[in-house]
Symmetry: C2
Subunit: 183 residues, 2 copies
DNA sequence: AGCAGTTCGATGATGTATCAACAAACTAGC
DNA sequence: GCTAGTTTGTTGATACATCATCGAACTGCT
């Protein structure tokens, strides 16, 4: 471990490509949503789970766990969205510390209007470009990496690793057959 | 195109997994760098190309093109990094509008110190978890998606697509066999 | 009941990303 | 050389992410 093992050509091609793709894809998706539905990716990430919940209400805690966000981020985001009328905060009956986050009609309209365009964009920029086998490979990779991220810590390879952190998220932040109405 | 084509199970698995992986991977990489080298991913993204340039100086314009950043973002980031002593701005001789961005000794030390840990982390959290065939698949996917992002516009599938934007980036922002010294 | 430890959410500070507007300097066509 | 249009970089406003801190409320133990 004197000299770190740099990436070889094949590895560098995959890693650089992946990093670049990630960056541009994020940007495009964000732009599309902002342009067509006046929602940021963060807005959408909260609206989708809320729109999928039964009475369109969730505890802030649960919403945080579901998206993998910390309390602070969630609180700030909710405050901004509340100011825009997309959702509202209510006292939680069962736990006086808690806050229920409820989707408003305006929020429902917004997510319903945004979802088809979002899926269409995801398809045209990504999903539809992949063969079924590639989709499966990607899913397998993602799951392997995620399980490494969750449990894999502390083994600290070479230099200054020891990557240990929270990593207690549960589910997706970017659901797709979401706000449309069914789901 | 009445009802948008939602993602089927296979597609959703791949897309959700990909999105989740992306998010957590970003977070971990950012944390690791911040913890071990006191550099943000954005810092690193600028330091790497500078450290690879011959006299460790680049026009802001070129740095912007290379990373795919817009002028504003670059300017803000450079100002902050200059305040920390990681780089410095100089007048550009050949074009009075231009600004040369020069790596300082401190910047060089920082990127040299950060690179091995970064590569080690990239390996342990990602690259080393993939089979060679998977690396190639991923690279192929990335290149296909990127070329779609660059040229592919305006065909506007179903609803509110028409995703057209700048997308004139050129190369990577996250080079790996970078600051170490060789490259 | 009373206390320790924990969970929950809000807040202010700081760093970062994006947008619109701007000014200075280059370039091409006249 | 002058002007119109473009390129280049900066700035301020706004939105967003992260961190440290706080107070209120719940939990479990005694």
């Amino acid at each position: 471990m004197s000299e770190p093992r740099w990436l070889d050509e094949r590895e560098a091609r995959a890693w650089r490509g992946f990093a670049l793709m990630r960056m541009h894809l994020d940007r495009q998706l964000e732009q599309q949503m902002l342009r067509d539905a006046d929602l940021s990716a963060a807005d959408y990430a909260l609206l989708v789970p809320l729109s999928e919940a039964d009475p369109h209400v969730m505890r802030a805690r649960d919403l945080g766990r579901l998206t993998g966000w910390d309390r602070s981020r969630l609180s700030h985001q909710v405050r901004r969205m509340e100011q825009r009328g997309l959702l509202e905060r209510r006292r939680c009956d069962t736990d006086a510390r808690g806050t229920d986050i409820a989707l408003t009609d305006k929020g429902w309209s917004a997510v319903s209007a945004a979802a088809p365009g979002h899926v269409a964009t995801v398809r045209s920029l990504f999903v539809d470009l992949l063969e079924p086998a590639e989709l499966d490979t990607l899913a397998a990779i993602s799951e392997r990496v995620l399980s490494r991220l969750r449990s894999g810590c502390a083994e600290a390879d070479a230099a200054a690793d020891a990557t240990c952190e929270a990593a207690d998220a549960e589910s997706a932040s970017d659901g797709c057959e979401a706000g449309g109405g069914d789901c």
